[in-house]
């Protein structure tokens, strides 16, 4: 799971960097269709899948940890409710 998270993290960095570059290039040279072309559309599809998978893995991991924390604190049915920290005096 850790390896998958690492791979997805790096993929997201690369795809995110690519689309930021495309966005900037598209503003400078709109006629070259850096965003609106077949290759970019497929890259966006893969980027979305990587981002969704990464999000699912991270949320699953967070949920698992919350359950573990809850079990450790004696409440194995659900995690402890959120408690707003008191404001500093």
């Amino acid at each position: 799971m850790l390896r998958l998270r690492k791979i997805l993290g790096h993929l997201n960095v690369i795809f995110g960097g690519m689309f930021l570059t495309f966005f900037w290039l598209d503003r400078a040279y709109p006629a070259m269709s850096f965003l609106d072309n077949t290759i970019s559309k497929w890259l966006l599809c893969v980027f979305s899948l990587a981002a969704l998978t990464s999000a699912a893995v991270n949320l699953t991991e967070i949920h698992r940890r919350e359950l573990e924390d809850a079990r450790a604190s004696g409440r194995n049915d659900k995690p402890a409710p959120y408690k707003r920290p008191s404001p500093p005096r």
Binding site: H10, I14, M18, A31, M32, S33
Partner: protein, 323 residues
């Protein structure tokens, strides 16, 4: 677990560096497929008008029949009545005078910019033609400018709108529609010799097809508004640069302006505003900016007329005059 089995952990800066390198490699692969590798675009989508050249670089199966067809089909593009009888090349640096075309190329200097004006009269619209690099339509297809001019037996040639570098922009060449996706300002040369420029929101491809568009260029911006110089343009490249542009006086009478630039001590180039003013001073009714920068080149009878920035570069199309 001994030390040899321990997993090596890279420092943070190395991970960031590797990610940046991977990003750079990914962008290079994208650039390769996006605009370096040639992608043939196929044949024309629609034949709007059929104007055949009387002489050209293309192989033709039945020239006599084509010539007869051309004569029958291009009456709208016949400018014999307006074609000058006198020599138009007096005082010009280069002059070509024949019964089909009159060309006079003169060099000028203005506000630190060296530029060439090619005054062109054609007797028939078929003499004003365009050509694709390697005689093939598509993206990423390039060829040396001089080779294109030579292959098409051009008397005079200038670089075109470099349609192949972009995925958008209407492309009509020699009466054939190749691309119909609109992009910003458009220049249309109709079969009857009238040239008009449009903003993207006023252009209608259907109307242009109905009026028999012979050439449509998509680069821009347009440089004159009802014959008057403009102050604002639909382009971000407004600073002094090498420029190539086409102007229109009347059916059969056009001009090409080639501005050298980015060469301190010789020529700085021209701003769009200055170029607009120049076309107004020339007396043009319409004018349109084509691809400039390193692409801007002009050829006359096999000789490179201007001094292109960094020696010029390959391009995807030319506009040329032939008989």
């Amino acid at each position: 677990m001994n030390s040899s089995g321990r997993k090596r952990i890279l420092p943070g800066w190395a991970i960031v560096t590797l990610d940046v390198l991977a990003l750079g490699a990914a962008l290079c692969v994208f650039a390769l497929f996006h605009h370096v590798l040639p992608r043939a675009g196929g044949g024309p989508k629609l034949s709007i008008v059929n104007v055949q050249p009387s002489v050209g670089g293309e192989k033709r199966e039945n020239p006599a029949q084509e010539s007869a067809n051309a004569a029958a089909e291009t009456t709208a593009g016949d400018f014999s009545a307006a074609f000058p009888v006198e020599d138009t090349g007096a005082g010009a640096d280069y002059s070509y005078q024949s019964g089909a075309a009159r060309i006079a190329v003169t060099r000028h200097d203005r506000d630190g910019a060296a530029y060439y004006v090619a005054d062109v009269w054609v007797k028939n619209i078929a003499s004003l033609r365009t050509a694709f690099a390697q005689n093939q339509y598509g993206q990423g297809i390039h060829q040396e400018f001089m080779k294109m001019a030579q292959d098409n037996k051009a008397i005079l040639a200038v670089s075109g709108d470099y349609y192949g570098a972009r995925a958008k922009g209407v492309v009509v060449r020699n009466g054939q529609l190749y691309r119909d996706s609109l992009f910003e300002d458009v220049c249309v040369l109709y079969e009857d010799g009238v040239m008009e420029t449009y903003t993207a929101d006023t252009f209608s491809l259907d109307d242009a097809v109905t009026r028999k568009a012979y050439q449509i260029w998509s680069f821009g911006p347009r440089l004159l508004d009802n014959g008057q110089p403009m102050q604002a343009f639909s382009s971000t490249v407004t600073k002094a640069n090498p420029r190539c542009a086409i102007g229109y006086y009347q059916p059969g009478h056009y001009c090409f302006v080639l501005v050298d630039g980015r060469q301190p001590g010789y020529s700085d180039g021209m701003t769009l505003q200055a170029l607009s003013g120049l076309f107004h001073d020339l007396g043009c009714k319409a004018a349109y900016n084509l691809d400039g920068g390193q692409t801007a080149m002009m050829e006359y009878e096999g000789k490179l007329v201007n001094r292109p920035y960094n020696g010029g570069r390959q391009s995807s199309d030319i506009i040329f005059i032939s008989e």
